[in-house]
């Protein structure tokens, strides 16, 4: 058996398969890298969300009877015809002791023992 020379071996190796990647391999590779790894120094700009306006906790539907009730109360109060439904303490006007003299002068004299008139 002849001994194979380096040159002959190189010629034979020239016949070995030359692998060729698919044409879209590079594009798919880059796409996979971008999909798998988000760069920490790439910060996507996202506008700050505006604070939403406070929502009405009572809907218009619920507010209508409340407004009607308030209007009726004001109307009846103005006529004075609704006082019978109120407690006496509220319907009878302010309580006063008509005999009392509320000048406060007497009290002042008692406190100071001097004539302040």
């Amino acid at each position: 058996m002849d001994k194979m020379t380096d040159r002959e071996l190189d010629q034979l190796l020239g016949l070995a398969t030359k692998p060729v990647p698919a044409t879209d391999s590079a594009a798919r590779t880059a796409a996979r890298a971008f999909a798998q790894v988000g760069k920490s120094n790439i910060v996507a700009f996202a506008p700050k969300a505006k604070p939403s306006a406070p929502k009405f906790t009572i809907s218009w539907l619920a507010a209508l009877p409340l407004a009607a009730s308030l209007a009726a109360g004001v109307y009846l109060g103005a006529l004075g015809s609704g006082s019978y439904v109120l407690p006496e303490i509220l319907g009878g006007g302010a309580w006063t002791d008509e005999d009392a003299v509320l000048s406060g002068v007497e009290d002042m004299e008692e406190l100071t023992d001097e004539d302040v008139s």
Partner: protein, 202 residues
């Protein structure tokens, strides 16, 4: 200055070197990274193919290596050594994936070529190619990697040694053993193989 290069220029330019593209990639420039992949992917694919013996997951391994590059572009200290770094990552991935976990030996799943040459020239060429591929595939993985990097990809011995994490002397020793093994395994069919070479016009 690399940072002054626009995306459009990068996408179309062949004058920007790998180190500049990597520097831009590290800053999150996708056009630069895509250009880098287009340049280096065929090389990585071929080396991985030789390590996996053309296994179906060659593409997947090559992709994984580039995902790591994109992920660690900031960490590479020597941008000029990108090719070596990438090939090292890809070859480690390929060897890890194709090593039998139980034995630590790379699985021998390739098809052994029929040793009988055929008369027809096309069939003869196909037979010769399979015979040579099988001889290459039968090499130990380190010798196969050394052959892939130096003989098939024509990388300088210094770069190949750096990629493999060995000294240049150790690399040359691997190459010498690989060539000796190939000569021995192909010697039986030397005449037929050389005639196939002549038919192919080599």
């Amino acid at each position: 200055m690399a940072l002054a290069i626009t995306d459009t220029a990068i996408a179309g330019s062949r004058h920007v070197d790998d180190a500049d593209l990597l520097a831009l990639s590290a800053k999150g420039n996708r056009a630069a990274f895509t250009s880098l992949v287009e340049r280096l992917h065929p090389l990585v694919h071929r080396v991985v193919w030789r390590l996996t013996r053309g296994h179906a997951d060659t593409d997947d391994i090559a992709q994984e290596a580039f995902v790591k590059l994109w992920k660690h572009a900031n960490d590479l200290r020597d941008n000029a050594a990108i090719k070596s770094w990438l090939l090292k990552v890809a070859s480690n991935l390929a060897m890890d994936r194709h090593r039998n976990p139980a034995t630590g030996v790379v699985e021998e799943t390739f098809e052994i070529a029929d040793t009988r040459p055929l008369a027809d020239s096309t069939a003869m060429a196909n037979w010769a190619q399979k015979r040579i591929d099988a001889a290459l595939h039968a090499l130990p993985e380190r010798q196969r990697l050394a052959m892939a990097l130096t003989h098939f990809e024509h990388l300088p011995n210094v770069v190949a040694a750096e990629t493999m994490g060995v000294t240049v002397d150790a690399l040359e020793s691997l190459l010498a053993r690989a060539r000796r093994t190939l000569k021995e395994s192909l010697a039986a069919d030397k005449a037929e193989l050389l005639s196939a070479v002549q038919m192919e016009g080599h």
